[in-house]
Amino acid sequence: MVKRTISLAMTATLLAGLLAACSGNGGGSNAGNANAEGSSAPTASGSASGGGKTTVQFWHSVGGKNGEYLDALIKRFNASHDDIQVVGTFQGSYDETVTKLQQAVSAGTAPDVSMLERAYVELFADSDVLEDLTPYLEKSKMSADDFNAGLMGHSVFNDKLVSLPFNRSTPILHVNKTLLSEKGLSVPKTWEELKQTANAMVVKTNGEYSRYGLTMPYDTWYPIALISQADGKFFNDEHTSLGFIDNGIGDKVFQYLKDLQKTGALYYPPAQDSGNIVNQMFVEGKVAMMFQSTGTIGSLSGTVGFDYTTAFLPQDKKYASPTGGANVAMLAGSKHKDAAWEFLRYLMEDPDGGLQFILDSGYLPFTKKMAESQQMQDLWAKEPNRKVAYDQLQYAIDTNKDVAWPEIMHEFFSAIEAIMYDSKDIQSTLGTFKKETERILAE
């Protein structure tokens, strides 16, 4: 009896599934048409006859709240343009978007415009699949000088301007000022002050650390920041090797981190989900200071129950910070370049476009006009923490630019793990890393 019921149930499910499968496939493409995504009709006739809309496909990697702000931007664009329909599609994380873009370019299904994590721009520029934007900028009476110079490090390759900044961030020092004030300490400005302050913040109860001084996510960003602050460069000028090993800067940076770690002044988080872990610890007051992206300022301000402030990353020989986040680029294979540019132009200079997105999301303003705008000035007056992030851009420097960076990055992660987790000898670990890098660069 039981068997019979189950077999009946199974048959019913199978039948239902089969029916759904048949109708569903049709439904899938119908839905596509309805959203003007699937159909080729408007794209073929659109620009020529002007009868339909030109569809611009835009791939991005922004989820969550920021994804909603971006969707709102696309809606505003579509509402203000009768002849262009932008379809924005989330393609996973930055890395996943890169994988998808690689396969789509070779399959001929690439979008017109895509977001690209800044470090990957060179990879695509090198294979010549990105459109040179210079003529478009000129046509719209814009120039590369309109943009913040610190954010243009990943835009020009082989004399072509192939990408423009969009959702950009930079690491910054986040401070729990309430804790610092309890000990009468001020926000550290140098490595030396950072060391003292972080050590003063450490609390040990029953032989275990219950509060740490400083933390940072598990990422190459922060060691690279320290290397630049110590006046080193990630790659040497000839791009044949690393630029921070032979001059002892690598030793110095990692020795500094290890010294902090030994006394509990630095909490170095586990690799998995490290960003969330350090945010959580900072919010709970279990760590007094944190190196972390400017992208977290908005959510931290709304969450913490203490006096929260941001500051420049402390300097060693100089102030320096790398940049992060993503640029936008036009694919050379796009069939609707003018429409695609109109969307890019909207992102760059329309007050309802990029500026509104930056105001909503908390990413860095990337053009000079945006930074000078009344809305931005008002926001900064209200939230000075965001202004600090922008001001630090004058010290922005990216020295890890190379086509082979994604591959070398993995080696760098291995070296960071060996030193920070397994306390391997710094000098020999960095020596191995250097050898690996030279091998990769020689290929």
């Binding site: 569903g24 439904g27 839905a31 699937g38 599609t89 989330f90 992206s293 986040g325």
Partner: protein
């Protein structure tokens, strides 16, 4: 004395079972609890166990973050089609491998096992290029067609069919039953537990799949729930865990329901293969 020992044993037994149960249930409880909290509660330490006032609105908020009815429909259609097609391919294949003798049988079975061992990460680029060539990237087919056959299922079902005595099939043949009838009236009903197991495994792995749909689809019209939920995560900054967990609850509930329906059959499948 003996009685007491027995009682002790039962209670230890029960305690261990409860402990084991907790290990498995804990993440689900955590998920459900988080899905009903406010953002502040998710960030609090020590963690909140029971939300002060359950935030049912989280579910609405998660579902409004994207075209979730479309995602849900796609998930259903993809998973159901895959299971139906797999059963249609798997049963005859397993029957042939178990009960027929033909030239090249072991070679072909070897190829099935080989397919079993190649992960999707190896084949996704050629498959994508092929699908793009056919012009079906904007349909659900790239998420269904590559999974029409299930090598693991063929393998498991073949083992199961091999345990069914030859005499039963002989008897059916004497009664003039066609091969199709033998398959559908005898082999299939007798191997329901194995079929349910394979179907459930297949259901769970396709319902939960993230990688394949992500690389095979370019637009939200053809995307399943898993991708919709991953979009709830922040790229940078602090994620709204209460919203993400509300999305996850929606994703997981169908699996639990199906499991509740099929669980008896699955246990049977493993018990049967045990006695042989």
């Amino acid at each position: 004395m003996k009685l007491e020992f027995g009682r002790l044993r039962t209670s230890i037994n029960a305690l261990l079972k409860i402990a084991l149960l907790l290990v498995f249930v804990f993440p689900f409880l955590w998920m459900i609890s988080t899905s009903l909290q406010t953002f502040r509660e998710t960030m609090a330490f020590p963690p909140t166990w029971i939300p002060a006032s359950p935030q049912w609105g989280n579910f609405a908020e998660a579902m409004q973050a994207g075209p979730f009815p479309v995602y849900a429909r796609n998930s259903l259609v993809i998973t159901a089609s895959v299971i139906v097609l797999q059963l249609a391919v798997m049963i005859p294949a397993a029957y042939a491998f178990a009960k027929y003798r033909f030239r090249g049988k072991s070679l072909l079975f070897g190829m099935v096992l080989l397919a079993f061992m190649i992960p999707g990460q190896v084949t996704f680029i050629p498959v994508y290029l092929m699908m793009a060539d056919w012009g079906v990237i904007k349909t659900l087919l790239p998420q269904i067609v590559p999974f029409m056959s299930n090598a693991f299922g063929i393998f498991l079902l073949r083992q199961y069919f091999m345990q069914i005595p030859e005499e039963i099939i002989e008897a059916a043949r004497l009664d003039n039953a066609s091969e199709l009838a033998i398959m559908s009236r005898i082999m299939t009903p007798m191997s329901m537990p194995a079929l349910a197991t394979v179907a459930l495994f297949s259901f769970v792995s396709h319902w939960n799949d993230y990688f394949w749909p992500l690389v095979m689809t370019d637009s939200s019209a053809v995307r399943p729930l898993t991708i919709g939920i991953s979009m709830l995560r922040e790229t940078e900054g602090i994620s709204n865990w209460h919203i993400i967990m509300a999305g996850n609850v929606v994703l997981v509930v169908p699996i639990l329901l199906v499991y509740l329906i099929c669980s008896k059959q699955i246990v049977k499948a493993f018990v049967y293969s045990g006695i042989k």
